[in-house]
């Protein structure tokens, strides 16, 4: 099980999307998010995209005002996770068309659906954009 959590946080440190693949209670989640976000946001562009925090490695990437943070365990391939983040962003981009923070906020459930199609139980399920998006488009048509 590689991925422990996926977080999207804006520049002010507010969480925009959070998905955990292991159990943490609310209190633990809040403190963890706080610590990690503080750590990552303080880093500069030149520094590498990996931060070690507690027993996690956090791989993060910044897109405009939004930070994508993925917590993984120590065995995981960091570069691959970086690639995965990019794939996630591209997928969202294709769906929303030039995705921005507001898209994710107002269509939180869709963002979750996409993530759900891509990651399940901490493992990557699907990496083809069209495969990921097809059920969501289907649902959009239905409603």
């Amino acid at each position: 099980m590689g991925i422990r959590f996926v977080l999207m946080v804006n520049k002010q440190g507010q969480t925009r999307l959070a998905q955990y693949y292991e159990y943490l209670n609310l209190e633990e989640r809040r403190t963890l998010e706080g610590e990690i976000v503080r750590k990552c946001l303080a880093r500069t562009e030149q520094q590498c995209s990996f931060v070690e925090h507690r027993n996690y490695k956090v791989v993060y990437r910044r897109y405009a005002s939004l930070f994508f943070l993925v917590g993984v365990d120590n065995e995981e391939n960091e570069l691959a996770i970086l690639e995965f983040i990019h794939l996630l962003v591209e997928t969202m981009d294709r769906h929303f068309g030039n995705v921005c923070e507001l898209d994710i906020m107002f269509h939180l459930e869709k963002a979750h659906f996409m993530l759900e199609e891509m990651v399940m139980n901490g493992c990557i399920v699907e990496t083809s954009k069209s495969n990921i998006l097809s059920p969501i488009q289907l649902m959009d048509k239905a409603s």
Binding site: M1, T15, R16, L17, A18, Q19, Y21, Y23, L26, R29, R30, E33, Q46, Q47, C48, S49, F50, V51, E52, N77, E78, L79, A80, L82, E83, F84, H86, L87, M105, F106, L108, E109, H112, F113, E116, M120, N121, C123, I124, V125, E126, T127, S128, K129, S130, N131, P135, L138, M139, A142, S143
Partner: protein, 873 residues
């Protein structure tokens, strides 16, 4: 709602909005309005994400899941995954709904149910639903198959027993063409191999050739737009396959052989100018390093890492360092080649890279390169970031400790580290340093001078100050005398006053903490005998601490002051050098559990946290090589350290009640072996004092006692404390002159003590019904021609006895037997019938305006009522 929350400027506003929303959602839930249910749940998810409690929405999820429409189900499952977790009881209720959905024909609904199951399934659910999932692994739609595969991962993680049912279906997935299914299938196989060795064997035999073919096809495959990422076809699948190879090849030479060709191909052919390619290479290197030995491949792998390391991309360097840590275990020579680059990385501005590189360097160090590497690191310490210094010093210290070829080098490096970053050094480290110093007798002089020099330039480093102060205290005369000069040293001229200056600065510094100050005090005490010319000044410095707000320091200052002023003779013996501390026991203890180390190291090295009281007492105790129980006295308060010193046990109960002044009195009393009777502690002491002193204040008593004590100490211990020890040597088998008086059932009165000037008679009686208690009536008769004033009788008994003394009938004893003083003593023997009564006593009075002190010991009293008059002075 989201807009409203976004508009909130402060957390308080946000909380208010959320509260309002929660209230309206609750209301909607109780109205049971199906139309808005899913919208409410979506809001709840948002609220949950912000970190507010949302448990009231859980039942809503269940209702939505049970509803027939797909959108409702969809959002219901999402809510289920987000708001619930496997530990909640509500989850049990959902099992049935999921089961129904798994049996639907609509692939999307099945997919949803699988997805939810994969994310939150608990062990019970895993058992209940495993057959359904197994069936779905062969479902016609690939999207369902891939989800079923991941669901299986969850199931076998929760219930490893179920793994064998899934081996064959999992292996079948490896033949798929669909990337998603293949990807998940490979992951599933990896997980199954981790939980079941049987599956591992099976896959090694059956599938490895197939897998190699899959990877080869993948590497050579033409452009596939679906899965292409920057020119490379599905790097994720690549990586997963390599991970599976990693598991399969680990510890199996045949399997490793089969895959080595393709690994070499991947390692050489992959594009390296894109991140995706590097990710594959990275994974490939990891696999090569973990499979069974293949020299050529390994060289290739380490070379790739070397290329990574010199890359300008921080991310790549980071992973390279990470991987080199694994490689070092296999082939440290190859990694050593990159040492210079790695050392550069330690100085990188990026904290993550620095940390990795430092750990790697730590692993790289061996006997041969310890010196240059340490030098590099120590040099870097000077310019490194403050937040990195802690880690860096810890690593340097541990390298130095582990690989130091000789003690002088160790001491040199440690002094350097302490003066660069003394504030970051952990306690164990400088404790260890002190131990090494004590164990290197030929380096004492060198060390103390080096520390003195370092202190001149880096006085702000707390631990440096501590070590230096300790060493100056111990080896002060070597500092001044330039003794034990090594060839490499320059001569320095330090006067005694300079050395005292250093300590005075340290004790006065505002930032010095309690431990440092206490150590300074001890050092000063020691110097007072090493530097006779500075005694006066040292005493002044100590006296200043009398006003300290910290009780510990204040008390210690008073005690040390009195040692310096009044006990000239024993001082030099008291403050002798510490015996060599035992390195082996210390390191053994350190290796043990942490709390044990803390408690035991107090003995090994008496300068330990919270042990501000300890240093002095334990040091002095060690000094006199007293029995170990002396320093085991819990929370030994300042007062009793001298008691311990002299082997007089006071029960801990009494220590707590003493106040400072009384403790001071104790010290002096005990110094003179008039220990207060154990159980009654200060009160009885005051009793007997007041009887003699007509209720003077405690301080008065102290003064009064103190004045006769000094001469007596001198009188009783001509020169060395050893004779004092003899004097105080407990109630042991001291040579006694049995004075057989009378035998018989009556309790005769006996002469307990007689000297040229004084006669003491004991009359015994027993309390009826209480054989343990003996009542003694002591009668004192003056045999001289002078009247005795300020007459005080004091007695001490060992622990198993309890002594209570009533006030004496007076404190003046008329001359020539013209009168007497009587005093009642009540002695309870807790070991009645087993041990005899014993008592020691001291009588002080003024005759002819001269203080007189007489002491004696009474042994072997009970049973036969034989009275023994022991030797006395």
């Amino acid at each position: 709602m989201i807009r409203a929350i976004r508009a909130c400027k402060t957390a308080a506003e946000e909380r208010a909005v959320v509260r309002k929303e929660c209230a309206s959602i609750r209301a909607a839930i109780s109205e049971d309005d199906p139309d808005y249910r899913h919208r409410n749940l979506a809001k709840l998810m948002f609220i949950h994400m912000l970190g507010y409690p949302t448990h009231f929405g859980q039942m809503e999820c269940l209702k939505l899941i049970a509803s027939p429409g797909f959108p409702e189900k969809r959002i219901g499952y999402l809510g289920l995954m987000l708001l619930l977790d496997e530990r909640q009881e509500v989850l049990m209720l959902v099992t049935n709904s999921i089961k129904q959905d798994l049996n639907q024909t609509n692939q999307y609904i099945v997919g949803l149910a699988l997805c939810a199951l994969g994310n939150i399934c608990s062990a019970e659910m895993a058992r209940d639903l495993a057959p359904e999932v197994e069936r779905l692994l062969q479902f016609r739609d690939p999207n369902v198959r891939k989800k079923a595969a991941l669901c299986t991962i969850r199931i076998i993680k929760k219930v490893p027993d179920l793994a064998e049912n899934f081996i064959n279906p999992a292996a079948a997935l490896l033949k798929e063409k669909h990337h998603g299914v293949l990807l998940t299938g490979v992951q599933l196989c990896t997980e199954i191999c981790k939980v079941s060795t049987e599956a591992l064997e099976h896959l090694r035999k059956k599938c490895i050739i197939g897998l190699v073919k899959v990877l080869r096809d993948l590497t050579n495959s033409p452009y596939a737009p679906e899965y292409d990422i920057s020119g490379i076809t599905d790097p994720f699948l690549h990586i997963r396959l390599l991970k599976l190879f990693h598991v399969l090849g680990h510890g199996d030479a045949d399997a490793s052989d089969t895959m080595s060709d393709i690994l070499a191909q991947v390692a050489t052919k992959t594009e390296t100018n894109k991140n995706a390619g590097n990710a594959i290479l990275y994974e490939c290197v990891a696999t090569i390093l973990s499979i069974e030995d293949n020299g050529g491949l390994r060289v290739l792998a380490v070379n790739i890492l070397g290329r990574f390391l010199s890359s300008r991309d921080n991310n790549i360097r980071y992973v390279a360092l990470n991987m080199l840590m694994k490689a070092i275990a296999l082939d440290s020579q190859a990694v050593q080649r990159h040492r210079a680059t790695i050392l550069e990385c330690v100085k990188d501005p990026d904290a993550s890279i620095r940390k990795r590189a430092l750990e790697l360097v730590y692993l790289l160090v061996n006997e041969n390169n310890a010196k240059p590497l340490t030098k590099e690191l120590v040099d870097y310490l000077e310019v490194s970031d403050p937040e990195f210094k802690g880690d860096l010093t810890a690593k340097i210290c541990s390298i130095v400790e582990k690989f130091s070829p000789e003690k002088i080098w160790y001491i040199d490096q440690m002094v350097k580290v302490l003066s660069q970053a003394g504030n970051y050094v952990k306690d164990e480290v400088w404790h260890a340093l002190i131990i090494v110093i004590t164990n290197a007798p030929n380096l004492h002089g060198y060390t103390v001078r080096a520390l003195y020099k370092a202190l001149q330039t880096a006085g702000g480093q707390e631990t440096l100050v501590r070590v230096a102060v300790w060493c100056i205290g111990e080896y002060g005369e070597m500092l001044v005398g330039n003794s034990g000069m090594l060839d490499v040293e320059e001569r320095i001229n330090v006067t005694e006053a300079d050395a005292v200056d250093v300590i005075e600065t340290a004790i006065r510094r505002h930032s010095s903490d309690l431990t440092t100050r206490a150590m300074c005090l001890v050092a000063l005490l020691k110097l007072s005998s090493r530097y006779p010319s500075c005694t006066k000044r040292i005493n002044d410095i100590i006296l200043q601490q009398k006003g300290s707000l910290v009780l510990e320091l204040q008390q210690r200052a008073i005690e040390f002051n009195s040692i310096i002023e009044r006990h000239e003779k024993i001082r030099s013996a008291l403050v002798e050098r510490m015996p060599v501390l035992d390195e082996a026991t210390y390191s053994g203890r350190r290796a043990g559990s942490v709390p044990a180390a803390v408690s035991t190291s107090q003995q090994a090295l008496p300068k330990i946290p919270n042990g501000v009281a300890k240093p002095a007492s334990a040091a002095l105790v060690d000094l006199l090589d007293l029995s170990s129980d002396a320093d085991q006295a819990p929370s030994s308060s300042g007062g009793d350290y001298l008691q311990d010193l002299l082997g007089v046990d006071l029960s801990p109960a009494s220590q707590g009640t003493n106040q400072t002044e009384k403790r001071g009195a104790d010290v002096l009393l005990d110094l003179l072996s008039i220990g207060a009777p154990p159980a009654q502690s200060s009160s009885s002491m005051l009793d007997m004092l007041s009887s003699g002193q007509d209720n003077k204040s405690a301080v008065g008593v102290l003064d009064n006692l103190a004045s006769p004590s000094a001469p007596s100490a001198q009188a009783s211990s001509p020169g060395a404390s050893s004779s004092m020890m003899d004097l105080l040597d407990g109630f042991g088998p001291s040579p006694s002159v049995p004075v057989a008086e009378t035998n018989g059932p009556t309790y005769p009165s006996i002469v307990a003590f007689e000297s040229n000037s004084l006669k003491l008679t004991y009359k015994f009686s027993k309390e009826p019904g209480n054989p343990q208690t003996t009542i003694i009536e002591a009668q004192f008769v003056n045999k001289s021609t002078d009247t005795y004033s300020n007459f005080v009788f004091q007695a001490a008994v060992p622990k198993f006895l309890q002594l209570h003394m009533d006030p004496a009938s007076g404190n003046t004893l008329p001359a020539s037997g013209n009168g007497s003083i009587t005093q009642k003593l009540r002695v309870s023997n807790s070991q009645h019938g087993k041990k005899s009564l014993v008592m020691r006593m001291r009588i002080s009075y003024k005759a002819n305006d001269k203080d007189v002190l007489e002491e004696g010991q009474v042994n072997n009293f009970p049973r036969a009522w034989q009275l023994v008059l022991s030797s006395f002075r």
